[in-house]
């Protein structure tokens, strides 16, 4: 299945792109997606402990099971206000 990934704020600079797509086996978790992304975009791996992850518009953690067509967002701590 194909998962679209969007990088927000300075994560886009670190990733070298604002969006990418990743092909994963069915019922892959967010954790598996991250392993794949950290291999292809190693600069993001250093920030994994402060990385926030959303699927669609909801926060999810590494155990969350993805579905084909999901949009995943990775971003640094938020700074509104």
């Amino acid at each position: 299945m194909t998962i679209r990934v969007t990088f927000w704020s300075y994560f886009a600079d670190l990733a070298g792109c604002a969006e990418t797509s990743v092909t994963l086996p069915e019922r892959a978790t967010v954790g598996l997606l991250l392993e794949s992304l950290y291999r292809s975009h190693p600069a993001l791996a250093d920030l994994r402990r402060s990385t926030l992850i959303a699927v669609g518009v909801e926060y999810q953690d590494a155990d969350h099971v993805l579905a084909d067509g999901d949009s995943v967002s990775l971003f640094p701590p938020v700074q509104g206000g």
Partner: protein, 130 residues
């Protein structure tokens, strides 16, 4: 609980927002907060902040926070405006107003909303020095 949310590139028109406030007869307290871009980010002078936002998620997360305020049953109205894009020093990036029967609730809810926003709403800022 009535709620109004605006994520906008336009300047925040505080006087007009204040003029637009409506209160039912049981309400006794309106607390509002304006967050203004400071001329220093850390110790470096800046000219503006550039705010970026994942808008659909920001709207969703704001409404989850509003839901939690509504559950308290003590807030009659919340209005929030977050400006995005370039916001110059001295201009407001955030305006929040909470209306409640009593002031302690209104102060607490307004601060809670801002604290939670800074934890979960996907908005980021970048200092500009041009």
């Amino acid at each position: 609980m009535t709620r109004s949310l605006s994520i906008t590139v336009d300047p925040i028109a505080e006087p007009a927002l204040v003029s637009g406030r409506t209160l039912s007869p049981g309400m006794g307290a309106a607390v509002s907060f304006a967050g203004v871009v400071r001329g220093l980010e850390g110790s470096d002078p800046i000219t503006a902040l550039e705010y970026s936002c994942f808008v659909p998620m920001a709207e969703h997360q704001f409404h989850l926070l509003f839901d939690r305020l509504a559950e308290r049953g003590t807030v009659e109205s919340v209005r929030l405006v977050h400006r995005i894009g370039r916001v110059a020093v001295g201009e407001a990036s955030l305006w929040v107003e909470v209306v409640s029967p009593h002031r302690a609730e209104a102060f607490q809810a307004c601060q809670w909303l801002i604290d939670e926003m800074k934890r979960v709403v996907p908005i980021w800022k970048k200092p500009l020095r041009d």
